[in-house]
Amino acid sequence: MGFRLDTGGHIDRSQPIRIRWNGRKLSAFAGDTIASALLANDVRIVGRGIKLHRPRGIFSAGVEEPNALVTLGRGAELEPSARATMIPVREGLEVRAQNAWPSIKFDLGRVLDFTAPLWHAAFYHKTFIWPSWDFYEWFIRRTAGIAKPPKKRDPARYDALSAHCDLLVGGGGPTGLLAAQVASRAGLSVILAEQDLECGGRLLATNLLINDAPVAVWLASVLGELAASRNVTLLTATTAFGLYDHGCAGLHQRLDLQGRTPSIRQRYWRVHAKRTLLATGAIEQPLVFEQNDLPGIMLAGAIRQYVNRYAVAAGRHVVFATNNDSAYLAALDLVAAGAPVQLLIDSRAEAPAELAGWLRKQGVEVRAGTAIAKAVGRRELRAIKLGSGEVIACDALGMSGGWAPSIHLYSHARAPIAFDEESRSFVPRESRPSLLTAGSVNGRTTLAESFADAMRAAERVLEQAGKSADGLVAWPRVEEPPVSARTGAVERVQGGREDKQWLDFLHDVKVTDARIALAEGYEHIEHLKRYTTCGMAADQGKTSNLNALLTLAELTNRKPADVGITTFRPPFTPVTLGALAGRQTGERYAPRRLLPAHAEHEALGAHWWEAGGWMRPACYPRAGETVHQAVQREAAAVRAGVGIFDATPLGKIEVTGTDAAKFLDYFYINQVTKLEIGRVRYGLMLDENGVIIDDGTVARLGRSQFLVTTTSGGASRIAQWLEEWRQCEWPDLEVFVTPVTTQWATIAVAGPRVRDLLARFETDFAFDRKSLPHMSFREGRFAGVPARLYRVSFSGELGFEINVPARYGAALWRELLSAGAEFAVTPYGIETVLLLRLEKGYLHVGVDTDGTTAPADVGWGAIAARKRSDFIGKRSLTRSDNLRPDRLQLVGLTAGDANVLVPGAHLRLPGTSEGSDGWVTSAAMSPALRRPIALALVRGGRARLGEKLMVHDLEKTCEATIVDTAFFDPEDKRAHA
């Protein structure tokens, strides 16, 4: 029976607050957390176990909470699985229990508890085999998980930033604060991150004296100084959730918990620290006994926190069970606050004389050498049963199984740990120059020891920075009880039901599950973890890892140090995806690049496509036209008259230098060195495995100057590819690689009437066939500005590409449209280009190829074989796999049904119902041929021309014929016109 004390705590009783718990109004005060408010209102059952749906109560007062996971808010602002121990109350806050139906008090899921022997560890690996997993999947998906995510888009805004500092302090307890104070006074830049809403750590739950004054005085003084210091960034409600290489740490700041409604909900800090000091404290561990999961059973330190910080007593008949000294302090504080404590049992043979004496003076019975065997109660704690069989009635039990240093972040850095026999826990084995630890994380139990640790760490940090800590801060004097680190071995009372002894509360893992894992041969702690899922829940095993390893040690007669502990990995606490994404969402998810003539395309009613990071017109639908109709019209217009297309994103790279030709020869499967000045050659580029990675042209501008074009999406990647080989493999070659893609605006002009259009412009280019044959390049002037002119064709029509400096791109587009009005010049988009290309059977790398396609698969095998000099990927072309006759090869397909012949449709031999002979890579209705056409990768396809295949697209099928890839103008007469 939890209740609010009349006095004490750090809450503000002048600010009453009402929250709603499952629709019921509860009273609280400013400064309360949801958990303290629930306890104060005597709410006992706050959650249900994930698997067996047993009732669960508040267990801790901090980040380690495995039971009190609740859902906050509604609609788009719903937040599932929030830890009630970490969320401050605010007026009107709506809190709901989760993982229970129809209510938290009466949950039908509890039937699983009554059939618990069926649901032991890894039962699902052996249970859902017959008739098939699919049979059970619907039901399992309905029951799995502990909360429901919001269904609406999160309206909140998030922020992300990078920060640099000399010292990052993880933890704002007394140790971290003192070290930060020393470092800041020495002039170092300091970032201090505290996961709680307030700094102070354990001081917030104690009534000690520092420098002869209450701890609050010292705290206020240090915090005031740090907050005023320009070189200190003090972050509360901020968890250091991961520590990575090179001193990089991830911090998760919950601005939404800090008392006001911020326009930024959460913030993700990427901190680059020269040195990191972990003052992350320690986490109290539970004891293992029968029914140790009943509501009313809490960590002893949590009871102390609730009474000292929130003025809430956990019960009216409280008992403590411990194997270390700390529970004595909790019992003393509870008694001092006016709440009755009946009994403290200590499993160690001898109780600490002084602490036990103080308790006895307060009328509390202390029994040493006694362990708890069982908690009694069905829905909540009613009594405890000792190993001797004695039953003691109580409504709250504070247990302490020792303190596990919070070494998670330390372990993220792969720093070594060691088992400490005295505290029976793992502690950091050494400090590194850039990674130090201090305080409870080192196993220190008293404040004085922690302060000494903080001073030592700060001195070391300053020494590394070439500074001295002498005289910077006076050593705080502390008066505190004589607490030792001596922790008794966890000795479970034998003979009890091990299937009711919980190791992991959040994932419902019990001692029997550990036994089953052992019976299956999983003796390693990492195997035990994965077999039972112990420590794999959202709490990351903060209160289960240590007990799991100690139990494993007990069951296998090994020393805990020999069992070891599992690897800790980020994040230390759950981080919302919103925070990780920061502002990189929606339109800012990735950069969008605009064409120089973007506004002109917009004015023409462009239907936009995002391709290779560029916003490109797919086509220009007219009023009442669909995209398909627009593409068909534009393609037909190009074949019949003249069209213009904005090809600016086409990758352009200048390769210059006396060795430029030799250099480029390494990249293309055809010869570049023999290319004449002013001519252009199309080529394929391979990676080391002989796989096609890009295609494009090489134009020779001069003896040692080339202009390489790439696919639009490959512009940046291929420039880096060339640069990497230049720098790493051939640094002796005299060659320069210069990307110039966006320096030039490129307008492609194509169609049988293209010369009529271009003749209207003032230019020094000649466009006739003799002066400018197909695959040629010229530099000169066009319409009064410098220009580079290609005669190439990616549509199969007579075509030119005009390149002008990008500032003139929009004007050139407008002038071409204007001058071409009498020829009904048609602007066409990228989707139309793909259709025109498809009619010609031109390769579209990345669409008609996959991560295995080699030149021979697309009909370029002979060209590659003819080239004698070396090129990247050449050797791989002779590997046995590249010579297999049944490789996927590019072929054409024709079929009668355009609805089935679609990209992604699979191909099979007629009469077969399994496997795949390949798939369609590109497909469209050809306006020139008036029938559906496609390109496809087909097994051994080039030797199967004329063969029939069945096309399968979902439930639809049709017959198709394998044909050559060139559907239209196979002799290429139009492009050479």
Binding site: I264, R588, P591, R593, P596, A597, E654, E734, Y808, A810
Partner: protein, 192 residues
């Protein structure tokens, strides 16, 4: 005959005057500048300290810049970026060719490929920290510093022109995205 397009230069879609977010943060967009990229061959790098462009040596410390006009920034071990607001590209090209002499080099006019956006004010470093992992404090990124880095997911050259003035040289095609990003990041700053 269509009108020569030189007289029909497209206007930038960005606001002409930039934007003032607060006393501590403003973004401005200066007129287009001549921008040249100079790459020096491996063998010629040994004598690069003797090169003079318009009478000034090339900056040879990594990530540093010198000069008033042209401003010369070292953006890679063998690469310098030159920007001029006062001279034609042809004049700067001539000066570079004269300065490099018989060394192996290539100089490319990229004036149309880049746009410069200027951040000014005390909050500029905090704004940059929203999109880039570099340390923008004065002790780490001095007034003689520049960096080719990644900002707002874009390749960018940032030059610290003065204590509270940063010039961001970005690809022309991404200018609108970058400007929008700056506005959004500035809003996050205001919220902080």
């Amino acid at each position: 005959m269509p009108e020569p397009i030189k007289t029909l230069v497209a206007q930038s879609t960005l606001p002409a005057g930039g934007r003032v977010f607060s006393d501590a943060l403003r973004v401005s967009i200066p007129p287009p500048r001549v921008t040249l990229r100079l790459q020096v061959g491996a063998r010629s790098l040994k004598t690069v300290d003797a090169i003079r462009i318009a009478g000034r040596p090339l900056p040879i410390s990594p990530n540093s810049w010198t000069g008033a006009d042209p401003v010369i920034s070292r953006i890679a071990p063998d690469t310098w970026l030159m920007q001029s607001a006062l001279h034609d590209a042809a004049d700067v090209l001539k000066a570079v060719r004269r300065g490099c002499g018989r060394r192996t080099f290539v100089v490319t006019d990229l004036s149309d490929a880049f746009v410069t956006l200027v951040l000014e004010g005390a909050q500029s470093p905090a704004l940059l920290a929203r999109g880039c992992g570099l340390d923008w404090s004065l002790s780490a990124f001095r007034t003689s510093s520049c960096a080719r880095t990644r900002l707002a997911q874009l390749p960018v050259v940032v030059r610290r022109a003065s204590f509270e003035r940063f010039e961001c040289i970005i690809d022309r095609s991404a200018a609108q995205y970058f400007y929008d990003w700056l506005q959004d990041a500035a809003a996050a700053l205001e919220a902080a």
